[in-house]
């Protein structure tokens, strides 16, 4: 039996990016929600829920980049070159919010500067990621193994709309995380925010779901021909069930459920996206097999993935477990 290495690697990278969206999604979301909370102690508590873990979360982004570099160097070079400006903006934004974690607790008089850096960095990084995603779905102009489009191809309505949608998605993830990790008044406020955020995200999901097939005939064909249509019908149904679950959990105040259900919602959207783009790694035309690194590269790196990822998941889970439980506003003493 021969392994289809490009296929496995596509799965690894999809997994890495999903882990990133899930994990950094909620801590970016906290920055997006910061403007709704003016009180210093509340902001401290919100940041404290992720202070010990955000760095590990962001490492998944680096894994996505390095994995793409290793397994699909052509995709890495073409996609990153094509989306140069949004990526640079994202990196700069991540610098601001990353240092805010350290600087904010060190500063007193200038704390507002780092609050602003945290808010701005989180929103801009998320928006840029959405733009990257949208531009990626729209497709990149490739000739002769090089990007030949313009520097501002990404500056189009659909990518910008995706940027706004991702901001809504991460905000909802952040809110669900916080109502699980906080207590008292802060938790109460999160519950109030949760349903409006759910509505906003649903609108974005609906809009992208209509817009994508309308603007991209190839994706429309994939969605609406038999037997594919038959497989896709459950997706909207599951989305509806998940949303009802969130509404119910918010009404009954079951703290952990909205977070898990929001993750499910993100996972469903993500799957829909993956199905639409398959098997291209540079839409609309370069497949994972065409962009593949030599088998010796993919095999070598895959050994590392197979051995290390389970270990990483174990100690990441351990770290989350050490910092389990609620963070208390105002004092931080347990």
């Amino acid at each position: 039996m021969t392994l289809d290495l490009p296929l496995i690697w596509a799965g690894v990278i999809a997994f890495g990016i999903f882990m990133y969206v899930v994990m950094d999604g909620f801590d970016l979301g906290i920055g997006i929600l910061y403007p709704f909370f003016r009180d210093k102690d509340e902001r401290d508590a919100m940041m404290n829920t992720v202070a010990p873990i955000w760095d590990g979360n962001e490492t998944w982004l680096v894994l996505g980049g390095a994995g793409l570099f290793a397994a699909f160097p052509l995709a890495y070079s073409v996609v990153l070159t094509a989306l140069y400006l949004p990526l640079v903006i994202m990196l700069i934004a991540l610098i601001f919010r990353g240092v805010a974690f350290e600087f904010r607790f060190k500063a007193k008089r200038t704390r507002y500067v780092w609050d602003a850096a945290f808010i701005g960095g989180s929103i801009v990084a998320t928006f840029a990621q959405g733009v990257v995603l949208g531009a990626f779905i729209e497709g990149l102009k490739v000739e002769n193994r090089q990007f030949v489009g313009g520097a501002f191809d990404w500056l189009a309505p659909f990518p910008l709309f995706c940027g706004a949608g991702l901001v809504a998605g991460y905000a909802m993830l952040g809110c669900a995380w916080l109502l699980m990790k906080t207590e008292g008044k802060l938790r109460h406020k999160m519950y109030k925010l949760m349903l409006p955020l759910t509505c906003v995200l649903l609108l974005f999901i609906a809009a992208v779901s209509i817009w994508t097939p309308l603007a991209h005939p190839a994706i429309a064909e994939r969605w609406f021909t038999l037997p594919n249509l038959f497989y896709f019908i459950p997706v909207p149904t599951l989305v509806a069930v998940t949303v009802l679950g969130i509404v119910r959990a918010v009404q009954l105040k079951i703290d952990w459920q909205p977070f898990v259900l929001t993750l499910a919602l993100i996972a469903l959207s993500y799957t829909g996206l993956a199905i639409s783009l398959w098997p291209n790694i540079i839409p609309p035309s370069v497949s994972i097999w065409e962009a593949s690194a030599p088998a010796s590269s993919q095999a070598f790196a895959l050994v590392g993935v197979v051995f290390m990822v389970p270990i990483i998941l174990i100690y990441t889970a351990y770290s989350y477990w050490v910092f389990r439980g609620k963070v208390v506003v105002g004092e931080g003493y347990h």
Binding site: A66, P73, L85, I92, I95, A107, T110, Q146, A293, Y333
Partner: protein
């Protein structure tokens, strides 16, 4: 921008971002190991001075590490954004090495960093020490992979070129390429030495301010032992590294030495101004035959001059000549510091000798400067090649416009100076504040939570004053 083309701007951008970046991981590598030693000594001896020092350097480590992470994410994307042709050709080799770095090092560091910074009261001393060790080991594993990748570009082997793509044949040969062991040892030791001088400089500042507490004396003493033992070892490793370079990249050595003609019994130039146009080194002052002796271990050894290579294949000798001398000069000063320290120790005057303390204060950034100068030497010295002898830097770049590169470079310069400038200011203020004594005794009374500005778990919060100079009132009111 300023008449520079896209290639030059891309090179400046890489040089700028990587130079800023490398300082933080270098100090993180050194401090992580130092923290592991301090915590180990604390657990073994139960002496509070080790714990106080651990807490002090932990907060500096946290900020340094944070800046290293965010500036490092930029690096991992820059290969693709700015050097797409390099990525397409050599991603098959560099990509897996970087993937291993992420999998075996970055996650390990990030996974245990939270526990290291905030978890002492949650996991107990033994597990906390384990977390510190994991972070320290993670930084070293990271050094291993990134230097393997870098060294492979200097001394590529273990591949075949298939349709312009570097296709791996033997990963063992790729990872353990000829220059890798030397470069790895040289860089790891440079990180330790840079950190030792940062620690020593900090201690010297407090000694000069009149502090004589056990923590300040302890860190001064530890830094001096490091300088005494490690600086000479570094000189030795550097010598071996140089010989390896002479074997694989003789043009780089010719540029480092400012030699144009292939000769026997070559002098070691102490001063000179290499001129790339006129193919000579002006105002050369040298010690006869010494370069031949150092490089070939023979007074009459032959060394190739730069004229052996066509003008378009030569590295810029003016830069390399001087960056090399800055590195070596600082290295010799470090050895001198170690020896002076030992000599003063014998007279029992090491904590009182003001002149020496001033020297150590001045030498605080010396390791970092030497490290940067060393990297300039090796990286400018490998030009015009990005993969030595096989892929030219000019053939590796993305096809961005000069405007786009100029704009992004401007953004990076402004943001790096603003953000990391503030970060470095914070670091210096924390160092100026010095270790807080008797933390453990105070901490038994109050348990801390993660990240809170007023909890003892946040090391800084134990001190009443924040880094931007305002008194934390709430802290003052605390009984």
């Amino acid at each position: 921008m300023f008449g520079l083309d896209a290639l030059e701007l891309a090179r400046i951008q890489f040089a700028f971002t990587v130079s800023f970046h490398i300082v933080f991981p270098a100090i993180s590598i050194g401090l992580a190991s130092y923290l592991a030693v301090l915590e180990g000594l604390w657990l073994k001896t139960d002496k509070e001075v080790y714990y106080d020092l651990y807490r002090f350097w932990l907060q500096i480590f946290a900020v340094t590490f944070g800046m290293g992470v965010v500036s490092g994410v930029v690096m991992s994307y820059q290969f693709g954004t700015n050097w797409s042709q390099l990525s397409t050709a050599a991603g098959s080799i560099m990509g897996p090495l970087l993937t291993y770095e992420v999998l075996t090092a970055f996650f390990l560091e990030a996974g245990f960093l939270g526990i290291m910074l905030f978890g002492l009261n949650k996991v107990g001393r033994g597990l906390h020490f384990f977390a510190t060790l994991m972070v320290a080991i993670g930084t070293l594993i990271s050094t291993f992979w990134i230097l393997s990748s870098n060294s492979w570009m200097h001394t590529p082997q273990g591949f075949s070129l298939v349709d312009g793509v570097f296709t791996p044949d033997s990963w063992w040969d790729i990872v353990f390429n000829p220059s890798f062991p030397y470069r790895l040892a040289h860089m790891a030791v440079a990180a330790f030495l840079s950190t030792a001088f940062v620690v020593g400089g900090t201690a010297a500042w407090h000694l000069l301010k009149g502090k004589r507490d056990p923590a300040t004396r302890m860190m001064f003493s530890m830094a001096l032992w490091m300088a005494l033992i490690v600086a000479p070892i570094q000189a030795l490793i550097g010598d071996f590294h140089g010989l390896n370079t002479l074997k694989y990249q003789p043009a780089k050595v010719a540029a480092m030495e400012g030699h144009w003609e292939t000769e026997k019994g070559v002098p070691l130039l102490l001063f000179g101004i290499p001129d790339m146009q006129e193919e000579t080194t002006h105002y050369a002052i040298g010690i006869p035959r010494l370069a031949s002796l150092i490089l070939t271990h023979d007074l009459d050894g032959e060394i190739k001059g730069l004229k052996e290579w066509a003008p378009q294949d030569r590295p810029n000798a003016l830069i390399v000549f001087w960056s090399f001398r800055v590195m070596v000069g600082l290295g010799l000063l470090m050895i001198l510091c170690g020896v002076l320290g030992l000599w003063l120790r014998r007279g029992g005057k090491v904590y009182e000798a003001k002149g020496f303390q001033r020297l150590m204060l001045l030498m605080g950034p010396s390791g970092i400067i030497a490290l940067l100068a060393g990297w300039v030497t090796t990286e400018v010295g490998r030009q015009p090649w990005v993969i030595y002898g096989l892929l030219r830097t000019s053939d590796a770049v993305s096809n961005h416009s000069a405007t786009q590169m100029g704009v992004s470079l401007t953004i990076f310069v402004v943001v790096y100076f603003a953000v990391f400038g503030v970060g470095i200011t914070y670091l210096l203020r924390m160092m100026r504040k010095g270790p807080v004594l008797g933390l453990l005794t105070a901490q038994i009374a109050e348990q801390g939570g993660p990240g809170h500005s007023r909890t003892p778990a946040r090391p800084l919060s134990a001190a009443a004053e924040s880094v931007d100079g305002e008194v934390d009132v709430e802290q003052e009111k605390r009984p």
